[in-house]
Symmetry: C2
Subunit: 380 residues, 2 copies
Amino acid sequence: MRRVAVAGVGLTPVREHWEASHRDLFAEAALKAFDEAGTDEIDALYVSNMGSAILQRQLHLGAMMADALGKRGIAALRVEAASASGGVAFHEAVGAVASGRYGCVLAVGVEKMSDVLPEEVASATSMSEDQEYTAYTGVTNAGLSAIIHRHYMDRFNVGAEEIAMFAVRGHEHAVGSPHAQYPFKVSIERVLASPMEADPIHVLECSGVGDGAAAVLLRPADEVEDGVEVASTAVATGIYNLTGRPDILVFDAVREAADRALGASGVSREDIDVLEVHDDTTICGILALEDLGFVEKGKGASFVASGGTAREGDFPTNTFGGLKARGNPLGATGLYQIAEVAVQLRGGAGPCQVNGAEVGMAQSAGGLGSTCAVAILRRC
Amino acid sequence: MRRVAVAGVGLTPVREHWEASHRDLFAEAALKAFDEAGTDEIDALYVSNMGSAILQRQLHLGAMMADALGKRGIAALRVEAASASGGVAFHEAVGAVASGRYGCVLAVGVEKMSDVLPEEVASATSMSEDQEYTAYTGVTNAGLSAIIHRHYMDRFNVGAEEIAMFAVRGHEHAVGSPHAQYPFKVSIERVLASPMEADPIHVLECSGVGDGAAAVLLRPADEVEDGVEVASTAVATGIYNLTGRPDILVFDAVREAADRALGASGVSREDIDVLEVHDDTTICGILALEDLGFVEKGKGASFVASGGTAREGDFPTNTFGGLKARGNPLGATGLYQIAEVAVQLRGGAGPCQVNGAEVGMAQSAGGLGSTCAVAILRRC
């Protein structure tokens, strides 16, 4: 297996892009990645997307998007693993270059959520959960998160304020980011005064609805100068339904994927300078910090509140705002995270820069953590 | 890249399975493949599926199906490339074993079409085509095929009877198949007397609606005795919309994928003893024979009519009935084809056996041929 590097990335701002189709967003991100990489000679395209069958009544995005780029003849496919689609597609794309099957591969996540009714978005997102056992009840993903959130507060005697600080940190970090959906500070008072999305989770503790596309172009590392290499990637699954888990405060798939990725890379947690975690709600961000092994179970919220995830903290986390403030265009989110880590390691993060960042990790979750993808990148 | 072998396959009959969910069908196929292979120690699961977001309101099949097998912790994902999903998932799974990333990988295609209204099935299948340029008009896939069919008849002066013979051959081959949806002969008169699906295509020239799951378990070839190895696989895309193609009677992606797969395997067309092609309509089966290079453009229909694709013909094709008679459960179909080739090469096809089959090819198409996956298998 040869070493693989990120040759270029391209991000659209996460917004309600009323004037652009998902094809437009895809193309914008892809062309930016081509520009950065100085090549458009790709052999394969991995498209990550979650909801287009519902949101655009469109399948077959691989062929559609390859054609949109004029890249006829290349291999192209769509990878779907709910909101982990981007991280999983990256894992597949990295494997394809590492093995020598393809020389140059483009992975693009795209999601267009804002041109349908909110109930259709809710319907699409709830399809990450089991339709026969869970989703049919009408419970939303935030509703399931709320069960976890409440239980976490009770078991570890943690206050709403500490958990809500995850959202405050995200918004702090998003300030100055050119692609963040909500690049402004939000006070803890405002978070806690926002309406309940699913008690005890406030609206401002949930990621919003946004459109975006994120592209990452991969090449063999020996063809990329002064770049960022992929140290390792891993994908794992866990118990699918919350009701089947021995402990709903532990996401086994996150633990498993982290252990595998760290083991394969030889990187230790202490080496990680930049971390992107999947905070579709504040509590999920906190569980991710714990299950990835950066902080003890039950200590995540106080770690965040005390500044551990701040830009100057022990583990700067969600450095462009995370799902909460950068935005969460579902199938694209995992590739936003990976691209952001790459930008940090190249020193190109501007006002969001973490000084001296050499190694970074991105963690992407599908559903309530039943799929997890972890990628570790480092300067090369 | 190490050699990869098919260690086991598992097929459910293609039927209207009113009593079984897509999870049930998936599990039945997977467990059969485990039994055949003598192992269930898989590292990864590739699920191919096209329409479950519409048909079952379910996404995230990777984690869901891994859990259904009790295989928590493994990597799992869904691959989607419309009706080529199965062939594309196989290509990905083969790459993952060949590269050494995983030791043992299960690829399962599953589709459950019969528990929703016919218009929802039509809606899901039309999502393989471009919603902004084509599908929004309401044209069905059969409607698009009809344009090709009519033009083929005109340009090559071919009669309806010759094209319809593709369906007759499929039904002949399905007789005795334990998993075929329609394992009985259909006369040419009956095909041509059936109602028009989309003039000039008759209902009995189209694949029907059916449920099914097909599993293929892959391992390194040196761990499989007396088996079938994967000589090569390839995926290619072509111009997405029919209106953009210089010649609607040529599927470029099919030509490209065939050339790549043949080139990589060192196999020549003359070596192919068993061929499975994607005949969602009779004309598409005929174009596949031509674009794969088994017969000259314009000669496919007469080749079929004169027995070239019969069990004793030059290129025995669709030896368990093809999409027409075995059935076409969309995202599962590509893996049915590949499993059928493997069964033929092992000499286990019973009344459907092609004598002395040593090398086989399966061709899977997404939409009107804008994605094509080709796999070549041989005895090892």
